[in-house]
Amino acid sequence: MDLSYGPEYDTFRSEVQTFLAANASAAPRGEGLRSPKMLSWQKRLIEHGYAARTIPKAYGGYGAAPDILQSRIIAEEFARAQISQGMGGQGISMLVPTLLEVGTEAQKEQFIRPTLLGEMLWCQGYSEPGAGSDLASLRTSAVLDGDEWVVNGQKIWTSTAHLADWIFCLVRTEPNAPKHKGISFLLFRMDTPGIEIRPLVDMTGNANFNEVFFTDVRVPKDQVVGRRGDGWLVANAILGHERDSLGNPDATLARFNALAELMKIETLNGQRLIDHPVYRDRLMTLQGRMMALRYNDLRVLSARLNQADASLARMITKLEGTELRHALEGLAIDIMGEFGLAYGDNPLKRDHGSWQYQYMYFLGLIIGGGTSQIQKNIISERGLGMPKEPKLDRAG
């Protein structure tokens, strides 16, 4: 057991701190994805190795060897300084790693550099109205017509579709193959004729997602990633990346601290809420759960560093992390009583209405990226070795 990162990492940490102190004024604060400030910040981060750190130089990255602790320190220090870590999004976090693994040389050269620089924004076209947890049943079709695919169908839960330049999209290209083997992974421009985007307003009141409709959308034949019909394998590698990044324990800690502060400020009948034994007990219960998950996260991090097995510990992080966060946001609403209802433009709302917003948003995350019930299937089957349920669609 050794919880220190070691002297060489202390040096690295102070380098990051020095960079942040010197460059803080250049960092965007709330500017949009297309703003000059965001684009120049992204460029500066890549030049210094604080974004695209391990992406090869040849494709526009910084080219450092993977080092989990260095990545961790960068994330910790940027979070502490409350400075943007640059552009995220599904292009950088999901498409780039996939192209690096299975893309052709031409695809890597065409797409990775502009994506990293934020000049090429992506959205992800996976889920459909009839294909959610059972994603492989998706029906959006692509039929070859000469040198072009002709795409027809509908996607849903497409975040940033209204901003994106390109989409990476799962389409059915082999209608007669078994459902997992008939899918291809297609890239195409969002300004191609035949694409219609409709914002999807969710329970928070925001349109975080969209519906996207394809009517005879024509896509050049060579814009498939991986082999034709192998799209399911490509997509599954990406889903792994997504699952790892959900339920960030540092963000949960920041929210816990904010909630404890709120409970010291807010009063009921002149008594601080933190002094109300029931509310305080509920806060402490969540702190205990949070600590257990933080240590679990340390264990997973360490296992990746030292090639130790922590597969079950890793498998439970999405389920437990999102459920904990939802409960934490919900406690803030409960302690505020009627004030917990304040939303929208109400001047009485606390912390900019973030508690209600996050309470609903995290319910979305409990469902999205593999529902809690799908997580439990994974935990019981892959983690505990329990058998799969007999599948009716395979029997028939």
Binding site: M1, S302, M386
Partner: protein, 355 residues
């Protein structure tokens, strides 16, 4: 950076696990429940070095740390093993290590497995039913309920004000009454003192407070092991039990019960590691982490005990399967030395969130 177990720690726990699975299976626990004799088990554990684990090398011990002890506690919970580990293997050597006056001779005898020490700190946690214990001029008067690891040669006893004494079981004026609990894999007793002479181990309440933190982590580790056993049995039973022409393990209702148990329990493992490590190496955090570990693992353990019994259906309710030994073990660990609500209040105090 390494947050995990060393090779030595894995070897140690493997050797204890092997011994317990062979020499102390459920049938042996059942025998203890009626006969109350665990001498052969403790002798076997002594051969593996378990009572010597925390005893300093200078006194004939191995000089390992609280994390190592927590790993042993987890194994004992996994097999619901009767043993005087908490008092003899943990409380006594830690009292010595943390500045209490304990003779090297006693430490050596404990390390060799020749002498057993019970531990009665309940009065320093919170007094119930008017039980008080006071000391005047080295003479102890009053009552302590819930002495753990009864049947010992000596007892470590805390007074109401947090002074720690060592008292011989045969000291004049001390009477020891068996205190029956749900958990028949442990021996518990009430100690009645009438002018008993004890030897003062330490009069600073901080020593008792630190011992309490260590014992709380050990009780939580015991629960981790017990809950893991219940989960393992649930998965095995669900795979083998058939209803509606298929193993019940194929039903999502059953699978999700098991997944819920695993998802709640697995982070407890990391929590125990951290808490065990903190006891020795992170004095600023150790108390807060111990309180939360005691509370959180108790809550998870309670849920696992209930859910795993349900996965077994009617069989879970019977004595045939014997799952209730772990159910009760988890219950014991939860009630002793601070219930979850009390531990969370203590945790709030430790960070200035409660008076």
């Amino acid at each position: 950076m390494e947050f995990g177990l060393s090779r030595e720690q894995t070897l140690l726990t493997d050797s204890v696990a092997r011994f317990l699975s062979k020499e102390a299976p459920l049938d042996r626990v059942r025998r203890f429940a009626t006969e109350g004799d665990d001498r052969d088990i403790w002798a076997g554990l002594a051969e593996l070095g378990v009572p010597a684990l925390l005893v300093p090398e200078s006194a004939g011990g191995v000089g390992l740390g609280c994390l190592d002890a927590a790993l042993i506690a987890e194994q004992l919970g996994y097999r619901a093993t009767p043993s005087p580990f908490l008092g003899t293997g943990v409380a006594l050597p830690l009292a010595a290590r943390w500045g209490g006056r304990i003779g090297d001779e006693l430490l050596a005898a404990v390390a060799a497995g020749e002498r057993r020490v019970g531990v009665a700190l309940a009065n320093a946690v919170g007094r119930r039913a008017d039980a008080t214990l006071s000391s005047a001029g080295g003479r102890l008067d009053g009552i302590v309920h819930f002495a753990m690891d009864a049947g010992a040669d000596d007892y470590l006893v805390a007074t109401d004000t947090g002074a720690l004494y060592l008292v011989a079981a045969d000291a004049p004026g001390l009477s020891i009454k068996a205190f029956d609990t749900i958990d028949r894999s442990r021996r518990t007793a009430e100690l009645h003192f009438a002018g008993v002479t004890g030897s003062l181990v330490g009069d600073d309440p901080a020593l008792v407070a630190r011992l309490l933190d260590a014992l709380r982590v050990m009780l939580a580790a015991d629960t981790l092991g017990a809950a893991q056993q219940m989960l393992d049995q649930s998965v095995a039973y669900a795979k083998q039990r058939e209803q509606f022409n298929r193993p019940i393990a194929t039903f999502q209702a059953v699978k999700h019960m098991c997944a819920d148990m695993a998802a709640a329990l697995e982070p407890c493992r990391a929590m125990i590691w951290y808490a065990g490590h903190a006891l020795d190496h992170m004095p600023d955090e150790a108390h807060l982490v111990a309180c939360h570990t005691k509370a959180h693992v108790a809550e998870v353990g309670k849920a696992v005990a209930k859910t795993s019994t349900e996965v077994h259906g009617g069989m879970g309710f019977t004595d045939l399967v014997g799952l209730h030994y772990w159910f009760k073990r988890v219950g014991y660990n939860r009630q002793m030395l601070g219930t979850p609500e009390m531990m969370r209040l203590e945790a709030a105090r430790a960070q200035g969130l409660a008076a």
